[in-house]
Every structure is written in C-alpha cells, then in structure tokens.
Symmetry: C2
Subunit: 340 residues, 2 copies
DNA sequence: CTTGGCACTCCGGGCGAACGAGTGCCAGAA
DNA sequence: TTCTGGCACTCGTTCGCCCGGAGTGCCAAG
C-alpha cells in the first residue's frame, strides 16, 4: 500500500484527468509522464489502486477516474502548492491596494480569486459578531429622524434609520452620542450591545424615550445575525466550462443563490487553516460533484471570515489552494492596515 | 396586413411557443386555441406571417417560431400586462417594507424580481450623480485619520478614510463639518462637489492642509463614476432552465460578470418608461438570443436608476413586464418614504 | 375566402455493424 | 518476486440506414 510508484501513478492519473477531463488509460499515462515502466505494469498498479478505492472505472474498458478518496490522498500527500507567479503576486497587490473601502476590498477579492482560479469564488464579509466598535455616529436628519451609523474595526459600516415619537434637540443628541461611544468604542460587538442596554436609564427623563428608541435599534443592528450572512460571489461564468450541466452546474447555481448554504460550504469552522472539502465530504448531497477550497482570513490568526472557491471535484487543487491562500493573506493584511 | 385573425394567430404562436419551447404547428394551434377555423386556413395565415418576417420555420416541415420582429409586434400590439395576483402584491409589499437600509432594499428587490419572473434580475443602485447630499459626517478615528461618511438622499452611504499629514483637533473638525454640510446639504451631488472646491480657502491657515485633504477625498468620492456602476444580480439559477447552453447561457453568464455591460443592457436611457429590448435589438451581438425587460425607478418620475430582468427571447413578456413595473413602483415608493 | 385532400420534405429515433480504446490475464524474462 | 509483451475480450461510441410522423404547400372544390 505504501508503494511509491503506485502513488506516482495516482498523481499522474489525477493530473491527467484534471487536464483532459477524460478517463485516463494506462498507455496514455506512460506516454505523457515519464514513468519508466510499461503500460502493463501500470495496469497492475491501477488494478490495485482500484481495489483500494482510490480510482474507479466508469465501465469495463474505459480509462480510470480518481474517486473522492483518490483526490483526498492527492491533496493530503501528493500535492505541492503551485507557487504564484510574480505577475500574479503583483496583480493581487496592486488590485487590492487600490481598494477604497471594505466593500471594494471584498468585491475585488472575489473578482481576483475567480480570475486566478477560473472558478467560482466566494468571500464572506468580515463577521459582525467578532468585530469591535470603532465609532458610533448619530445624525439628525429631521427633528424626529435620526440616522445611526455604526463603524466597526473591520471598516464595515452599518446604517439604520430611527423614527422618534418626539423631536430631539441637537445638544441632547450630542450628549447621547458621547454616551454610546463611551460605552462601546473598542468593545466587542456582543459585549457592546449588552453594555448599551442599561444606558438609557442614566439619561435625563425627557430624553429617555428617544434614547431607548435609538439604543434599541443600535443593539438590534449589533445582534442582527443576518448581517453575518453577507457574502459576495463571483466568477459564475466559469461554470460554463463544466462538463455535466445537470449534475454539476444546476445544483451549484442554486446553491449560489442561498447565502446560508454558501457559508456552510465555506465552513464556519472558525479556524484559519486552509481546508479542502472534496465532493461528498461536504454537507450537501446535491453537491457531491463539487469541491470547496477555503480558508479563514483576518489579521494575526484572528478569524474574521472565510473565503474560497468552489468547483468540480475534478479541479486544479494545487493552483486553487495557492490562490486562495495568497488572496486570504493579502486581504488579512489590508484589513489589518486599515485598523492599525 | 392589418388582418385581425393573422394577429390572433401570431399571438397564439407566441403564447404556445413560450409555453412549450417547441415550434408550433397549425394543427396544434387550432386545437389549443379556439380559433374557429381549420388548420389549412391557419397555414395560409402562417405563410403570410412568414413572408412578412414575423415568424420563421427552422426547417421545412417543422412548426413555426416567432422571430424577434414577431415578438416585437406581440409586445407592442398584442400583449396586455398580466395583473399581479393579490398574493404577489402582498409578497412584494411585506418583503420590501421590512427592508432596513438601502442595501437591503436592493438585495430584496433583486430576489423578489427573480422569483416573480423566474428569470435573472438586475437592479442598479440609485445613481450617485443624480442624488442630493443629505448629510456629511467627519469622524476622527485617530488624530491623523478621519473617516468621511457621505449620506445621500437615496439612503446610499459612501465612506472613505483620509490620512492627514498633521493631526487635527476635534473642534477644528467640528467647524469643518459644519462648513461642508452648509455648502452641500440638499444640493445635487455634482453641484456639491463644485461648491466644496472653494471651501478650504476660507478656513484658518493652520487648517488649510487638512481641509484640502478632506475636501479632496470628498469631491473625489462624489465624482467617482465607478460608484454609478453598482448593480445587484440575482436568480442566476434560473439560467438552468434555458435550453441551449452555448448560445444562450454562456454569453449571458459572462455578461453578468461585467457590470458595465449590465448597465448598458438595462439602458441608461434616463427615461422611466418600461422598455423591452428583444434579441438583436440590444447592444451586444453575443446576446442576440436574450431579451431585456427594464424600467427606471425613482420617486415621481425622477430617474434614479434602472431595474429589470434578462432572459431568453422566448420569455413571458406580459408577466415579466408586469412584475418589473410592480417592483419598480414599490422601490420608488420606499425610496420616497425614506426621503420624505 | 375557406376547406379538405394529398403528395412531399425532413427531423428524430431505433437498430445494427464496425471500430477502437482499454482492460485482465498469462507466460516468460530479469 | 517483479516486470513485460502478447492476446483475447469487453463495451461504449460512431456511423449509416431506415422508417415513422409531424408539418407543410398546393390545388381543386365548396
């Protein structure tokens, strides 16, 4: 089982199959890779690999195709990350350095990732719940309407409109602004929501109602878990290269509409490690033909969110893994800089 | 040429073809619609319609298929908007009323539109250039970093980070905040950018540099035409229902990645009218097999942006047109309310 | 102007044969 | 023990072919 040549054969099969999309036979294998043995020998190895479940033949007298288990072994033992070319590194750096705000960073990352890997890319917005509050701004638009602006350490900005029953004067609003900022700046968002709850009790009686309304919306915005579900998707056009429409493209297209599904695909594991989920290893049986390469991102191992690519199980794992890791690193750096 | 029955036949052909996706023959036509004449008569009419270019037969002895010109006549003369069901109206109202901010409104509109029409939906964010400034907020994060927040009449919020060479004190910043707001609140954004340019000249000499930097970024954000290109896309999974992958799905998938292309598709015409662009009538020859149903939206005939759906030329025009118009109306109302 | 009849066209499905890629196995060589 | 060349076999794919059926255009009659 720990046979070097058999592993070589498996690697060759994976690489050829990824390149050609066609089952690969023993003869083509020895030709395209310098294996130094005859087709017959390779056939023996292939038979063994098939017994062990690493490859599979669609029907008698067709070539072999890697199974999910085969890809798994390939990824774990045989693949070395394809280093990014200098041009690619430069593209990443210049594109992301030019981003003006968080939205821009996310949009550009998705685009980048999909172009580098020629696959569908997914980037989760930095999680609300793991951010800290950087600033809260209260802007009175009319005497009875206040806009709340919540600025987070990641650069993410949430806004809410509040209708008040009674008008507030600007000086009161200013007071309240100071109070909410004191209570929450630098604090993790969950803790900030708690800290804010008691705040209205301390203000002057005339203000209490307005303060309650404002703080209410604020804490609601902070604990709105839907906002954690925001993701950006790009590169769907790459689906066009897929071979099998019904088993591969359709379910994936449907999944891409459901952001909750996407997040689960990325894996909210909370770890920053580069993870590869191959075919049936994922949580959805309809997506048994697709693999996910994902990783967390965030400054200094602090997990803010995830990003990755999804594609057919027959995909270029080394290349995708390298691209995903490279983009995650740049994004982490950018977010860190903005926060310094 | 102005023959009532021939028009009836054309309408029947369009409806049948949209329903079945198959060329429709004379016999099936008289059966499914109560035309009250024999197949032979219908055949004569069909021959005439074909001479005039409204329909086309893929090959001898196949049924007829509407041409783009045929769809055009159908849309212009024969189609009556399918009224929305009560349930659909309710769905629109409850979904959009629950939106918390502009992003939310746009996201939900896209989703709604794609579900109502079972097609790919596109919604353009309200144009920056046609909005007025509602408020500008300057928040000092550290002494040398200021975050600018630009709140527009549409509810759209733009944010930018400014690095200053020298620290500013809060009171100076407050002064500047008052000044920029005075200069720009209520003013159309292009005019506001102009008005702001001269502003730094009036401030105290120590502030000039900071003011210049801040106003510079602000006017840049205001005149950033890229921001006008923001669009949201949804319902791509509906592409899966398309018959022909290579001629229909692939080019459209590619177009959906290019937001500039999408905007051109929606038509920046600036009018609020409901427009239908059928097949080759559009600006892209690769999209000769797709149609666009779009309209502008915005309070009281004031064009803020466009929204619509794209699909195969063989699509349900009456239904799509009704849905697009209904959603546009609700979106307009919501934006108007937020702005009142 | 409409209708029924009729000959004609041509697409699509079904069937069978030839083909070829790939295999498994076996006997002999290293 | 391991590798290799040879060989018979399997089975999916492709091509040619035929045939049925849907649909048409045209014509003569109502």
């Amino acid at each position: 089982m720990v046979d070097d040549r058999k592993l070589d054969v498996l690697r060759a099969i994976v690489e050829d199959y990824v390149a050609t999309e066609e089952p690969v036979g023993s003869k083509a294998l020895v030709e395209r890779h310098g294996l130094g043995v005859s087709p017959a020998t390779v056939r023996n190895d292939m038979a063994a690999l098939e017994d062990e479940g690493y490859i599979h033949q669609p029907h008698t007298s067709a070539g072999r195709v890697p199974t999910d288990k085969g890809y798994r072994l390939f990824v774990d033992k045989l693949a070395t990350l394809k280093p990014m070319s200098a041009a690619e590194r430069r593209a990443i750096a210049t594109l992301l350095d030019g981003a003006v705000d968080l939205d821009d960073v996310v949009q550009k990352s998705v685009r980048l990732l999909s172009q580098l890997t020629r696959q569908v890319a997914i980037v989760q917005y930095p999680s609300l719940s793991r951010s800290t509050v950087r600033h809260i701004e209260l802007v009175s638009l009319t005497p009875t309407r206040v806009m709340l602006i919540l600025i987070l350490s990641t650069g993410r900005v949430e806004q809410r409109l509040v209708e008040l029953d009674a008008p507030v004067v600007d000086s009161d609003l200013a007071e309240l602004r100071v109070a909410v900022n004191q209570a929450s700046v630098g604090v993790q968002i969950a803790a900030a929501a708690v800290a804010l709850c008691d705040l209205p009790d301390g203000v002057r009686p005339e203000q209490v109602d307005s303060a309650r309304a404002i703080v209410g919306v604020l804490t609601e915005a902070m604990s709105d878990h839907r906002s954690d579900e925001r993701v950006a998707v790009g590169g769907t056009a790459n689906l066009a290269r897929y071979g099998d429409f019904d088993t591969a493209v359709r379910p994936l297209l449907e999944a891409l509409e459901e952001h909750v599904v996407l997040l689960k695909l990325l894996g909210e594991s909370g770890t920053d490690a580069l993870t590869v989920r191959i075919g049936h290893e994922g949580p959805y049986s309809e997506l048994a033909a697709t693999s996910v390469v994902a990783t967390g991102y965030g400054p200094q191992e602090f997990h803010l969110g995830s990003l990755g690519v999804v594609g057919p199980t027959r995909m270029d794992y080394p290349g995708s893994m390298a691209a995903v890791r490279a983009v995650a690193r740049y994004v982490s750096r950018i977010l860190d800089e903005g926060n310094q």
